[in-house]
Every structure is written in structure tokens, then in C-alpha cells.
Amino acid sequence: MLIGAEGMNRNRRRGGTLTLRSAAAALVLLAAGATFAYPLRASSESRHIPARLVVTDEFGRTIQVPQPVLRMVSLAPSMTETIFALGAGDRLVGDTDACDYPPAAKTTAKVGSVEAPSIETIIALQPDLVLATQLNRQETVAALDRLGVPVYVADPHTVQDVIESTARLANLIGAGDSGQALVENLRGRLDALQRQLSGVPPRRVLFVVWTEPLISIGRHTFITDALAWADAQSVVQTDKDWPQVSLEEMVRLQPAYLVFAGSHGEAGAPSLADLQSRPGWRDLEAVRAGRVVVVSDALARPCPRLLDAIEELARDLHAEVYPENPR
């Protein structure tokens, strides 16, 4: 009944598996050791640059910027525009897919999206300085930091902040003269606006970032401040930066004007006829009376062109002050 034990000489093979075992273990250990030992030994080496400027950026980070700054990468559209406005566009070696103004920015080498740029592409461009804003992820900034690339993060909250930020950036990248001229021009225009609009009652507006769902702006954003300079006041006053608000609440508040930043046809700026046919929206007085203002998308970008947009908005909202530009 019991089956005889056949093939017992498979025991002979046992010795072979032992050497196999040790060889495999050795290989794995070697590979692991090599790959892990490397990062410990190789620290990110600092480049040997003669002069370095120690600067604190607008996020409170202290960075060392090599001087002069010859190669820059911008990780936000507003930064790209500011650099070109300062006349330093020829020193911009890389920007994001979203950087579309001025037209020259579109031909600059791309490093990816604002949220997920390719770190290695940035490194390959060998920038002396990378410019970022609070639109960029903390992880991106941290990654570049770790690799020894100085990142300057701008964080303007008001229009004045935008102007000061521009001035600081100009000094940082060695465009002090054009910076000063630009800043004076911007400040002058702000003063003019203030004079022209003094005594004019502010318009109550709803600034629409997105229609479905309806997203507006909070009171700590620079857009709110920009609206204030155009003598407009947002009917939404929350602490959250991009609050989702209810349409019914807007109907109750009945803002005098609706403001969109971005040209007709783009996402977020539907045509007037379209709005007038949408339920809920057509209950807004502003929609029924056609008081929908579309200004350039620069209103949403904290860069020098913001002033253009503010002036445009001022003209649209306060036609009585600017009679020569009827809309």
C-alpha cells in the first residue's frame, strides 16, 4: 500500500541551491548598497559663483541669488509678464505652458504646467534664478531648493504689493533702471485713477471666476484690491480666497455689475445672450440690463498689466467719468 520512496537522490541537488542562494543574496545586497550609498555621498554641490546676493522673498524664505542673473526660469504667467515688462525677456530661458503674454513668451522653452513642471527640464536649463508665486506647489519649490537652485516666490495681496514686488524683482535681476521707470509709471497711473474717481460712489460688483459652479473672490485676494482701485466693491466678502457662492444669494444681493476677466468665448466668460437665457442668472438685474463687463484676463494676474485692466474696468464701470470712451 505504501508507495516506495523513489527519486530520493534529489537530495544531491540541495548543495547546488545553497550556492545559488548565496549568489542571489550577494547580488541583491550589492545592488541595494550601490544605489543607496550614492545619494548619501553626493550632496548637491553648490556652483562656484563669485558673487551672491542674499535676499528674503515674499514668503519669508532666505535665498542666495548669484549675481549677475543671466538665466531665469519662470513658473507662473504673472512672473513671465513682469520679466518681459522689465525688459529682461531675453534672459528668460524657460517658462510654463500657461505663459502666453507677451507673444514672445510663447516661444520660450517650456518646462511644463504650473502645477507639475518637470524638475529635470528646469535643471537642464541651468537657471541662476527661478521665479514662482503662490500658484506653484510647495513640493516644486522644495524640490528645487533641495537641488541648490534659488527660487524666489512672490506673493502680492494688493495692487501696491504688485508694484513693490515688481520693484524688488527689478533690483534682484539687475534691471533697476527699467524697474524704476516702470514703477513710477504704474504709481502715476494709480494716482490718476484715484483723482479721477474720488467722490464717485463705488459700484457693487460680482466678480465671476467660474460660472458652474459659481466661484468668486475673497477679500484677501489682490483682485478685490484691484476692484477697489477701479472704485468697485465685490459683494462677496469672505476670508476664503476662492469661495463657491450660491446664485440665490447673488440674486438677493443684486450686484450692479457682473465682471469677468477673460475674453468672450473662453471658459468662464459666456456671452450676454447666453447668460440671459440661463435660469438663475437671468434673475440678476445686472444680466437683464446688460451690465456685464468683460475685461482682459490681466485683471487676474498680479503683474504690471494689471493696471491696464484696472483702467479698462474703471472706464467700463464709471462711464460718466470717462465720457470719451463709450462702451
Partner: protein, 294 residues
Amino acid sequence: MSASDTRSALASRDAAAPAAELPRLSVEQASYAYAHQRRSAPMFTLSATSFQARQREVVAILGPNASGKSTLLQIISGALKPLSGRVLLDGVEIRSLGTRTRAQRIAFVEQQSQLVFPATVGEYVLQGRHAYGRALHLATEEDIVLGMNALAQVGAEHLADRRMDQLSGGEKQRVILARALAQQPLLLLLDEPTLHLDIGAQVDLLERLRRLSEENRQTVIVVTHELGLAAEFADQVVLLHSGKCLRVGTAAEVYQRELLEQVFSASLDVETGPAGRPRVSLRSRSDGAGPRTT
């Protein structure tokens, strides 16, 4: 030679030999109770039960549903700690054995076995050798030989490389039994193994169990509610009803008509068949005399 002739020959031979051996299994006053909720009165699923079993003996734990049969079997296997009493295997209390040692001495075939991931029959049967292995429990030559032997004993060596989910119900049950045999246990416990089998397969299984207990010198304990099978194949019957052990003895001793009728709530006739084993048949309720002919 027919099966029953062999059995009677063996029985008479055993009766002639002096019974000098210690009982393989000794169940002493084992009882069990559990409470549904804490602080409520405990429900006794099993009241103090005792019996003994020898090597090469087949014991049937018999009773209707909810009579405590499975509880008793779980206590014998060591999976349940009895509320009172103890179970001794070759004189050693089984609760004092470690899980590993217990698995080397006692094998349990559960009622149902579901497999989540498919395994081959060979892998499944070799699981029975788990209690003998160390570290990764990789199968040794000895394990493989014993595994094949176990399959041979249940007539399933040809299934060794098949997948478990490709087997028929009967084949699967034989393989499950082979896994239990691979443990080389002293005690083989089966909980209602005949539940889903047709009568031919039931007889087949019990004949096989009888043979195995002889060949392997094992004690086989089968929980069942099948009166006919227990009568035909068991050397000893433990009759349970509502958690109480009513009678322990040979089939002839236990199968008293009034007792059985009370336990199983049915009108029964008990006759004595050849070789002294009782035969049970149904008596129809309408008339009191003899079975109804259709």
C-alpha cells in the same frame, strides 16, 4: 468476502485478544455553555458527557440538529475549551498540547471548505504536513511521499495535479480527507461528512473510513444524524439530545425504539439485522402496524 463478513471476523478476533491497551481517547465529563450576552444566563450546549474510544475504532456521535454534536467534536479536537471536564488523548490532556503538536495528533474535517484562491490538489494535501515543517514549511521528500500515500488511501492519486476548483463534490471531499490523513493523526474527526452526498457516496465514504481506521490504527469519530449509517458502520454510538448525552454503547445497545423515537421525534421500528447490527425503518403515523406499502 463482503464488508460485513470482514468486520465480523475482525470483531471476533478482537474480542478474543486481551484488551490490555489504554483507551486512545478518553472524554471525561466534558461540558460547554455560552452566554448570548454578558450577564444573561448561560445556555448549556453540552452537558457533562463521557466516553472512551480505542485505536481502530469508529465512533458515531449521533443526534438530531442542535443536540450538541458539533460542540462535542470541537471540544474533542481541542478547538473549544470545555467548561468542565477534560479530554485525554493517550493519557495526555489535549488542551495542554501546543497548536503544532495537536495538529500532529488530531485531524479535523470540517463540514464545508471554501477556497478563496485556487490551489492544486497536491498543494492542498501538502498543507496537512504544515505541523511538521519549520520556517517556510517547504515540502520535504518525506512530505511528498506521505502526501501521495494519503491521496492513494482515498483513491485520488490521479488527481494530484488537478486544480481544486476543477473537482467534483465527491472528489473534493476525498482530497479534503487526504489532507487530514497527511497529518498522520491518531484521531480523525469528521463533522457531518455525509451531508451533501447521495446514498452511494455516503456508504463509500464510511466504508473507506472503516478501512482507514484499521490500516492506520486511527480512532475515527464521525458526527452524524444518519441513523442507518451510524448503525451500519460505528463500533460505538454516543447518542445526544438537546445537549445531553443519553446513551453510550454499541449500536445494538443504543438503538432502543422508545429512546430513538423520543430523540428523533419520529415513529420508528428497530430490527436486528445480520451480524447483530440494528436496522431502523420508518413506521407511518396513520396505522400503528408495519410500514406502508405503496
